[in-house]
């Protein structure tokens, strides 16, 4: 009974934790690959004060900074970006947009491709026509389609109002409705022309693997400090607000589940171990009569409970991984979570730290649960215990 409870608890934690780990990893990689990158470089002033004019705290001579970063180990590429906002108009109706200007070739090099529902991605080659990608929400609001034209209005870095005409080459669905309703993406030269500045807001750095982020961050920080303009190197996790919110929420849920499992194991184990103590009263009395120290009896109970915990944990790890593997092969999908418009694959990751953590949790729960029965057993009156029927 206790063994089943312990095994079930560990298996349950592994399945839930494994699914959460899969979600975290998926969210992490999608956050990074959707354009956040592994590292981002801003000017130090960017975080000290708000801009009063476009690109006021932008990076000068960004090619020099990119050159320093590109030479780093594990760096796959560097993509300059301009984040800006303004008004988009179809001549009849106007709306606010949140714009992002990119170098399409650099973005493609890093694997940052917008999720197009129509048309094509931006072209990196210079041409007379200014191209734009817009969100599906913007297209619906402006009542436009691929091939139509729109006008962008923005305040330049000098504070003047400037406008450019763009041709829609593609529609984007980011998965977030709020973003799709404001989404605009143009090329870097187009934005620099609109904003009348050579600066960029930031540089996005892509690495060969997310696990190398800390190492590259440590290696790049010293050379960046030697540049004329003071810059700040940020890790993806410092900028991934949504990821951190989701992780905090689900970690809280997992902690809650862990607490429930802990209490279930403790309560059921205390009961079972007390019953075992009652059943073994005469045996304990015999041991005490023969001169077994009372501390040995306590140790015996705790050791037995710990052993049950180890066996249960082992069974739980094997069972949890087996069920997880079966679920992974079943190809299950989850309905879209709040804020997303696409469904999620259901996968359970096999996380060694989770296996160790869950096992330690139930083993320590059982050891803890055994203390009360162990102390009671050690305090038995020998004569009464021997007469126990």
């Amino acid at each position: 009974m206790t063994l089943t409870m312990v095994g079930g608890g560990v298996a349950g934690l592994l399945l839930v934790g494994g699914f959460f780990a899969f979600m975290f990893r998926g969210l992490r990689e999608s956050t990074i690959n959707n354009g956040l990158g592994h590292l981002q470089i801003y000017t130090a002033n960017h975080f000290r004060r708000d801009e009063t004019r476009a690109l006021e705290t932008g990076i000068d001579h960004w090619q020099q900074v990119a050159g320093v970063v590109s030479s780093g180990r594990h760096v796959r590429g560097v993509a300059p970006r301009i984040e800006f906002y303004g008004i988009i108009s179809n001549g009849v109706k106007s709306s606010v947009f949140m714009g992002s200007a990119v170098d399409p070739d650099s973005e493609k090099g890093l694997g940052f491709t917008p999720r197009l529902t129509a048309g094509r991605d931006l072209d990196g080659k210079p041409s007379g026509e200014m191209e734009a990608l817009i969100g599906t929400g913007v297209a619906r609001s402006m009542n436009v389609k691929v091939g139509d034209g729109l006008t962008l209005l923005a305040v330049t870095s000098d504070g003047a109002l400037n406008g450019v005409d763009v041709q829609i080459v593609g529609l984007v669905n980011t998965g977030y409705k709020e973003v799709d309703d404001r989404y605009l993406r143009i090329t870097l030269p187009s934005a620099q022309r609109l904003l009348q500045s050579d600066r960029v807001t930031n540089l996005v750095v892509g690495l060969d693997a997310t696990e190398n982020t800390d190492q590259v961050w440590a290696e790049l920080a010293p050379p960046l400090r030697g540049l004329p303009q003071e810059v700040t190197l940020k890790k993806w996790v410092e900028l991934a607000t949504y990821y951190n919110q989701v992780k905090t929420l689900f970690s809280g849920i997992f902690l809650f589940l862990g607490i429930i499992v802990f209490f279930m194991v403790v309560m059921s184990s205390v009961n079972t171990l007390l019953m075992a103590m009652l059943e073994r009263t005469r045996e304990i009395g015999t041991m005490l009569a023969m001169g077994t120290p009372r501390s040995w009896v306590v140790g015996l109970f705790v050791l037995e409970a710990t052993l049950i915990g180890v066996l249960g944990a082992l069974a739980g790890v094997v069972g949890g991984n087996l069920i997880g593997t079966m679920l992974n092969h079943a190809g299950l999908h989850m309905p879209p979570p709040p804020g997303l418009t696409v469904d999620l694959a259901f996968r359970v990751l096999h996380v060694p730290s989770l296996m160790i953590g869950s096992s330690l949790l139930v083993i320590s729960s059982l050891a803890l649960a055994s203390i009360l029965p162990a102390v009671r057993a050690s305090r038995l009156q020998i004569a009464e215990a021997l007469a126990h029927v």
């Binding site: 045996e283 009569a289 023969m290 077994t292 120290p293 021997l386």
Partner: protein, 256 residues
């Protein structure tokens, strides 16, 4: 010869409802090493209480219990535990073997408590099992042994650490005649051969016939304390355990 056990004005009262029951009442007797002594009496006469007090698993309400000259009535739990471990072996009516241990592991247990090295433990266990004729059954668990075999394992467990005293509470009560006879012969043999002191409580006339000395209890008082050869001749007796109280002082010693 010095006393191995000395009971001096020992009383043991147990609370019951709003009063007390006198399980033992001002009991006095002495036991010297090498005795093969029976404590007889009807149910409720105080035999088990007496054995518990001698075995240091209970304490008297008043009086003193001396084991090998040590007043056990005043000892702390840890000292009593050590005394039981080193000086006493127990044989129980219901065998009380540890069910998950094999016969040899059960016999080894007292030596484990003494922290004896493994090789010495194995040698002692082998000798003890051999002395009770169970060498062949050493690897069997208790549930695979007969009642007689279990009790012989219990005897081996009781003597393996060479205690000064073996206490046996109704050791033949759960055995058939053949096994009971074997056990009695075994205990008697160990007593004579190794000089082990045996004190046992019993109803069993077969066992009483082998005892050197019989202390009879009735209502918590010693009603008779005599050598066994006089037992069969006595006219006034508790032999049928009908508890016809003798007017003998409960303070009467063993006569040595």
């Amino acid at each position: 010869m010095h006393d191995l056990v000395a009971m001096e004005e020992v009383s043991r009262k147990f609370p019951m409802d709003h009063s007390y029951v006198n399980a033992l009442d001002h009991t006095n007797f002495r036991v010297v090493p090498g005795e093969f002594m029976a404590i007889a009496g009807p149910s409720g006469s105080g035999k088990s209480t007496l054995l518990n007090l001698i075995g240091c698993i209970d304490k008297p309400t008043t009086g003193r219990v001396l084991l090998d000259g040590v007043d056990t009535s005043t000892l702390k739990t840890t000292r009593l535990t050590a005394l039981r471990r080193d000086k006493i072996g127990f044989v129980f009516q219901t065998f009380n073997l540890i069910p998950v241990f094999t016969a040899s592991e059960n016999v080894e247990f007292p030596l484990l408590l003494q922290g004896m090295p493994a090789q010495e433990r194995r040698d002692r266990v082998s000798v003890a099992l051999d002395s009770v004729g169970l060498t062949e059954r050493a690897k069997h668990r208790p549930d695979l042994l007969s009642g007689g075999e279990r009790q012989r394992v219990a005897v081996a467990r009781a003597i393996v650490h060479r205690p000064a005293l073996v206490l046996a509470d109704e050791p033949t009560a759960n055995l058939d005649t053949r096994n009971a006879t074997q056990l009695i012969d075994l205990m008697r043999d160990l007593n004579r051969r190794l000089g082990l002191t045996f004190i046992f409580s019993t109803h069993d006339q077969r066992l009483l016939e082998h005892a050197d000395r019989i202390v009879e209890l009735c209502d918590g008082r010693v009603t008779s304390d005599r050598k066994s050869d006089s037992l069969s001749k006595r006219g006034q007796s508790c032999g049928s355990f009908s508890c016809s109280r003798l007017e003998m002082s409960s303070g009467t010693g063993a006569g040595h």
